[in-house]
Symmetry: C2
Subunit: 279 residues, 2 copies
């Protein structure tokens, strides 16, 4: 199969590595930067690479691996080069707004979201087998051609990912809870600790900070643009998740203020048990 | 030196292991359970062990390693067996209430808090070199004998811990921020995700949960009694930390609701930078 990849960063580059390694595909890569294209060719991840989207006219399937904000302009520029049989799919972490947008521009579009990533970004961060045993969510809608869904699912399975299907809206509400909400929860923790008005306390907190703070603050210290984009493209689910979260936080706070220690311990027993079940 | 340890759990057991390994000390252990005493003797962590606090009458220094709630009753029972030269010190994660309480019962008391621990508890979880390179906070007050502070600091340094001194109040405000607040922040995240009213979304969230949720929820899934005790014995600093946290969370939420994406990204840039500086 001729497989195109637009955006040769962590996800696009890793996808290319594994697809090329399968030996069955001809890989066509597009990156805005000529140097990235050359690197992808030198590393043997791509058979051809260019900053020019026209390269993808011979692709059967194209993975859109750009940031969320670049998806629509990319598809707009890509469409003149495509035959109607070309399948487009994306890897964005938000689905409803993306699917609504892109399926209008290109009916043969399959929304996708591989649950894989690292703290790094860019082609240098690409790694083999990034998708092995990871969930790969596909979010077809009524108008999505079933055959195209099968093609994308087949490619994802060939990377040893675990393919699941869900609606774009359910996907977005779920990732708002387990992926986007943690970023805001964690960022707020960093801000509360590092902006304390008492310099002695702030300095002491820094000295005493250990694994609890480190783990809880990790995702709040991640890529700011990505965090902002999650909220921007998943605003409704994000606001809903934040509201549910604040309700839980307020309950805990009220128990502490009222010295309802039994109630507080009851909640912490539930969260201990529920986390074990959940993970 | 004759060193007593009351409470042979993770911290008491680990302390015993390293102090015994130094070869200079005679170790006296007290645990409520006879089987724990026997185990500590069999493992060679203690020279003598007993459920009877009278064993500690010959100790020069006694480490109180019980849960916070047991500290006061333990010291009350211990006092009749001690000579006034005996130094008492604790390892509790809260200091102001403990120091106020115990220094009244026993003037020769030095508040302490080694920043070490694991997710496990009990003697079986004890491990050698738990305190190496960890911060060991000592919180003397005006009435604390300076010579006793030096003795405890010397023992902590012999475990290769990094000894720091601070006031009990500053300690509590700092640990409220970086240790106790994360527990409540993280528990609220678990509750928000696992109690979502839509079963499909909840189930999908469970399927999609990966490292972001895992890390951010870790401390909220820890020991419920310990989490409750942190809040109970550090209530004022905890309430203050929760209030500061909620202010930060509300700001982020308001920017998302108002679609102030530049402001949101600005906050996330700050938290990314501040976390790097902080850790």
């Amino acid at each position: 199969m001729n497989i195109g990849i637009v955006g040769l960063g962590l996800i696009g580059g890793s996808l290319g590595m594994d697809l090329k390694a399968l030996g069955d595909h001809y890989l066509l890569g597009v990156s805005r930067r000529e140097t990235t294209c050359q690197k992808a060719m030198e590393w043997g991840i791509m058979d051809e690479a260019s900053p020019n989207l026209a390269l993808l006219s011979k692709a059967d399937v194209i993975f859109l691996c750009t940031p969320l904000a670049a998806l629509r302009p990319t598809v707009n520029q890509l469409v003149p080069h495509l035959s109607s049989a070309t399948i487009l799919t994306d890897v964005g972490s938000v689905k409803a707004s993306v699917v609504n947008d892109l399926a209008t521009l290109w009916p043969n579009f399959v929304g996708g979201h591989p649950m894989a990533g690292t703290a790094e970004s860019g082609l240098d961060a690409a790694q083999a087998e990034l998708f092995v045993d990871r969930v790969y969510a596909l979010t077809p809608v009524e108008s999505t051609p079933q055959a195209s869904v099968e093609v994308v699912a087949g490619i994802a399975r060939s990377l040893q990912a675990r393919v699941i299907h869900c609606s774009p809206e359910e996907h977005d509400r779920a990732v708002a809870l387990i992926s986007h909400l943690p970023v805001m929860v964690s960022a707020s923790l960093i801000a509360a600790c590092t902006t304390n008005e008492n310099e002695d306390v702030r300095s002491l907190a820094q000295t005493l900070a250990s694994s609890g703070f480190r783990d809880t603050s990790r995702v709040g210290g991640g890529n700011p643009e990505l965090g902002m984009m999650m909220a921007r493209y998943n605003k409704d689910a994000m606001v809903r998740a934040l509201s549910a979260y604040r309700h839980e936080l307020d309950q805990i706070t009220q128990h502490i203020e009222a010295e309802d220690w039994r109630e507080l311990e009851g909640i912490l027993k539930e969260t201990q048990r529920d986390r074990q079940t959940f993970l």
